[in-house]
């Protein structure tokens, strides 16, 4: 890795931010607003993702509570049917694209480079660009709340022909289409970066089979994103062409076939499910060994199971479409692959149990959430296998049974693991630790609230209550279940409130911790908390899996090695840091303006006006974006060198 310093790109700006000319000015602020807008530090970008994700998580949570409030009693009138449609559309869109995915991205950004012993991701400015594009997409999707068009209301799947101009006129759905498109661009750009980083920036000795499991799952997830998102991109392009230019992709009268949308959507949509859960599985695979004080049981099997889930994830999409009349062959094939994908998932559960078996379990808060994850995710998995049986699925289809199932895997699975991850890495990120009492209290309230909300929905669903219907009659036998569920939702809301209240308190006033408070195993814990901007003063040399554990037990050997490598690196000019850049941010602004032009501005009805307001705004946005990207490439990937004092020894 010392050779990185000799890389030709790096020798450009020797310890200075020399202004070449005004347009190629490199910002150097380390605090304040400019420093956040221009940051290329993966840890700061991770925070930006995290904060945005938590904000949208709260927004989505409020939407969920309103939905539950409306369904608490029969024939309720808290929301109108239109508002209800907006709520369930935006609740799903927000939770999937703006809460869980960016929260995972926050961990990818913050933790993954630390785990592989890197100083940043492969393309720091591209990383910043991904975040700003994500934010632009998030704004576009939510813009409808503030405009007279209202929020999107065609469901998070926006099935054609419901989503075509005939049945959903107005700009709300244009905003949904543009917003998801941008979120896709952001996710793909970020994933290209993560894959490049994991493949190319590993510390010496960090072979692929020594990667921490969270990093492995980051890699698999990133591949899923890179290969699955183009399907939704094309689906959205086709829908957008239909809506803006009157093409016939989903126009039945001219030969279009709405089923194409359903296929393209789920070709993306099912891998998306694994995009949501695999990072969580990675986090759990970090937490269980730490608190069981044992290495992960069957590491290669866990890794290969994760990878095979990734592969199989592309072959199961039509199980969302058993009721569309695919024919016996297609139905049987997809039922089979869907059952097959449960196998590697089950294998992982056994590996986690094997990890805890005979370990010295320390029941700290992250461990509680991790155990909650295993239990709840298993329940969600069982109902998932039930859907795989096509005949049974045709009964459960579009009922609250499905709602119960996917909330067990998305909240019980993804969200519990992410909440566990926040607790687990909080000391590393902020140098403070959440009090065990409050942490465990929030866990129990969330656990109780979650099960009270979603367990009754299994029964309500099997009793025939359909999804996405804004109210129901009192004589259907669904009253009790719905009322219990609504009470549960507010308990869950209270639990989440306690969780974040405690987090905010801890951030300001929490107990300070020393380095490595959990006595953990992977490399990120070898850093002082919070980690310095350059991460590793000396790039570590990896000797084994769980390398930090090895370092703790071979201190003399590692110290000598570090001194040697540190001297080599100093001889090469010190630690190389990339310059900050404003252009990823301005490119994001351009994209936002362009998207507003496409999705929000009204087209001029007069056919003689060639450049109306719509085209003008779009072109201005495109121009800003292109100029930003051009200047970004002109300024180059130069950097400066740091010579930090020996601060690690004192922490």
């Amino acid at each position: 890795m010392a050779d990185a310093i000799a890389k030709s790109d790096f020798l450009g700006g020797e310890e200075k931010a020399a202004p070449k000319s005004l347009v190629l000015w490199r910002p150097t602020a380390k605090t304040g607003l400019i420093s956040w807008l221009t940051t290329v530090d993966h840890k700061r970008i991770g925070f930006l993702y995290g904060i945005s994700a938590l904000f949208f998580f709260l927004v989505g949570g409020v939407e969920a509570l309103l939905i539950r409030l409306q369904l608490a009693v029969p024939n309720n009138h808290v929301l109108t049917s239109t508002q209800y449609n907006e709520m369930f559309t935006m609740h799903a869109t927000t939770m999937i694209f703006l809460a869980i995915m960016p929260l995972s991205a926050a961990f990818f950004n913050f933790i993954m480079p630390l785990q592989i012993g890197a100083r940043d991701v492969a393309f720091p400015r591209l990383n910043a660009f991904s975040f700003w594009t994500f934010l632009a997409g998030a704004i576009i999707v939510n813009l409808g709340w503030f405009l007279k068009s209202g929020a999107p209301d065609a469901g998070w799947f926006s099935y054609a022909p419901l989503s075509t101009r005939t049945y959903t006129p107005g700009h709300a759905l244009d905003m949904w289409v543009m917003g998801i498109q941008l979120l896709g661009v952001a996710s793909i750009a970020a994933s290209l970066n993560f894959i490049g980083t994991i493949i190319n920036l590993r510390a010496p000795g960090m072979t692929m089979m020594r990667l921490p499991v969270f990093t492995w799952m980051t890699l698999v997830t990133a591949f899923l994103i890179v290969l699955a998102f183009p399907a939704i991109t094309i689906a959205l392009v086709e829908l957008m062409m239909d809506r803006l230019f009157g093409t016939n992709f989903f126009e039945v009268s001219n030969g279009g076939m709405p089923i194409l949308w359903t296929h393209l959507f789920w070709v993306f949509g099912h891998p998306e499910v694994y995009i949501l859960i695999l990072p969580g599985m990675g986090i759990i695979s970090e937490i269980l060994p730490t608190f069981s004080r044992k290495p992960l049981f069957g590491y290669p099997i866990v890794v290969f199971s994760g990878a095979s889930i990734g592969f199989l994830g592309f072959g199961v999409w039509s199980h969302h479409m058993f009721t569309t009349g695919m024919g016996t062959m297609g139905t049987a094939a997809f039922a089979f692959t869907t059952m097959a994908i449960a196998v590697p998932t089950g294998v992982k559960i056994f590996n986690w149990i094997g990890t805890m078996w005979g370990g010295h379990l320390k029941m700290r808060t992250p461990m509680m959430f991790a155990l909650g994850f295993i239990w709840l995710f298993m329940l969600g998995g069982f109902s998932g296998v039930m859907h795989a049986a096509a005949p049974a699925d045709s009964q459960q289809h579009n009922s609250y049974f499905v709602v119960a199932h996917f909330h067990y895997v998305l909240i019980g699975g993804s969200l519990f693991s992410l909440l566990a991850g926040i607790h687990y890495w909080f000391p590393l990120m902020f140098g403070r630790k959440v009090s065990e009492f409050w942490g465990k209290l929030s866990f129990w309230v969330i656990f109780l609230g979650f099960n009270t909300t979603f367990f009754p929905l299994h029964f309500v669903g099997l009793d025939g209550m359909p999804r996405r219907t804004f109210t129901y009659d009192a004589n259907m036998g669904w009253n009790q279940g719905n009322l219990v569920s609504t009470i549960g939702a507010f308990i869950l809301g209270l639990g989440v409130a306690i969780y974040f209240g405690v987090m905010i308190y801890t951030f300001f006033k929490g107990e300070r911790t020393t380095k490595d408070p959990w006595d953990a195993r992977t490399l990120e814990w070898s850093l002082p908390n919070p980690p310095p901007e350059y991460n590793y003063r000396v790039i570590p040399t990896v000797h084994t899996r769980d390398d930090w554990w090895y370092e703790k037990h071979h201190q003399a050997e590692v110290a000598a090695e570090k001194a040697r490598h540190g001297a080599e690196e100093a001889a090469h000019g010190g630690i190389h840091m990339p310059f900050q850049s404003i252009y990823p941010f301005t490119a994001g602004i351009g994209i936002l303006i362009g998207a507003i032009g496409i999705a929000v501005v009204d087209a001029n009805p007069d056919p003689h006006v060639i450049v109306g307001a719509k085209l003008a705004v779009t072109l201005v946005g495109a121009f800003i974006m292109i100029v930003s990207i051009y200047l970004w490439s002109l300024e180059g990937n130069e950097g400066y060198h740091l010579h930090p004092e020996d601060e690690e020894g004192h922490s």
Binding site: M1, D3, A4, A6, K7, S8, D9, L11, G12, A18, P19, K20, S21, V23, L24, A122, F123, I188, L192, N193, I195, G196, I199, N200, L201, R202, M206, V226, L227, A228, F229, P230, A231, T233, I234, A235, V237, E238, M241, F245, G246, T247, N248, F249, N254, G255, G256, M257, L260, L264, V267, Y630, S633, L634, G636, N637, E638
Partner: protein, 284 residues
């Protein structure tokens, strides 16, 4: 950016990465994997709808002109050859050859785009196939148009790379280089757009009245402003390309050119697939 790297550069191995593959090359391969899925979905859409034509859709054979498309396919293939020569030239630090190869690649790319503009015009105004009036028009124009956008992005990138080869080595000593840079881009874009318009104008004129001197005179009169603009912008290009001291573009930038080359070849390969399954398939 700088050329202080010592010794010979190995263009196939980068010691600073774990695998030896340069980061930029890896990024481009991954992006192309993503783009494969992108075009895969779009081509599948066309193929699926092709099998289920509603009544009244014109047959593709009655619309297509296979001669023109074969010609533009051949030109695009040749542009890939020039792109490969460009990569080879910069790896040997041969700037002159690099610029010539880049310009030829751009020229061929523009011929391809021009053919597409001509083809689209022809389909819409002569054959009455529009993007809205039939499912064939919808899938055909969306698919080939998306590919055309990829080619246009590639031409734009090639143009910027060509201009980049004139950036002085020490830009801080040459405060006006950035203005020249902007002027260079404007002049190049003007040349491309005016050139295309003129060539299409000549073709249209010849189609209307046949190839004779009278047509040319008529043409020179009708397109006088465009002709003048083209002459001025070509002159500007010549002036901006004159030698002006040492430039900061050399072997170390080979990876940038190679990355662009990967993109260009990929777009070419996609066209071979499109040419086969969209055009040739109709003549089986």
């Amino acid at each position: 950016m700088s050329n202080t790297a010592t010794g010979a550069i190995d263009h196939h191995f980068d010691p600073s990465t774990s695998t030896g593959i340069p980061n930029k090359k890896l990024l481009m391969w991954l992006f192309l994997a993503s783009d494969c899925m992108f075009f895969g979905c779009l081509i599948s859409t066309h193929l699926i709808y092709r099998l289920h034509p509603p009544p009244g859709v014109p047959s593709a054979r009655s619309v297509f002109s296979i001669e023109l498309t074969s010609f533009s396919t051949f030109i695009l293939l040749m542009s890939s050859l020039m792109m490969a020569l460009a990569v080879n030239a910069i790896q040997k630090n041969n700037l002159k050859s690099l610029r010539a190869s880049l310009l030829t690649t751009i020229f061929f790319g523009c011929i391809f785009l021009g053919c597409q503009v001509y083809e689209f015009n022809n389909f819409v105004f002569e054959k009455h196939l529009t993007i809205t009036n039939s499912i064939l028009g919808t899938t055909f124009f969306t698919l080939t148009g998306t590919h055309g956008c990829h080619v246009a992005v590639g031409v734009f990138w090639l143009m910027l790379m060509y201009i980049r080869t004139f950036q002085p080595k020490d830009v801080s000593r040459d405060p006006r280089w950035f203005l020249r840079n902007v002027l260079h881009i404007v002049a190049f874009l003007a040349t491309i757009l005016l050139g295309m318009r003129l060539v299409l104008g000549v073709v249209r004129g010849m189609e209307a009245t046949g190839a004779n001197l009278g047509t040319l005179g008529h043409f020179a009169h009708g397109y006088f402003a465009e002709l003048l603009g083209a002459v001025v912008s070509v002159g500007l290009l010549r002036w901006l390309a004159r030698p002006r001291g040492e430039v900061g573009f050399n072997e170390a930038n080979a990876i940038d050119v190679e990355m662009m080359g990967l993109y260009w070849h990929f777009v070419d390969i996609v066209w071979i697939v499109i040419f086969t399954v969209v055009y040739l398939l109709e003549y089986l």
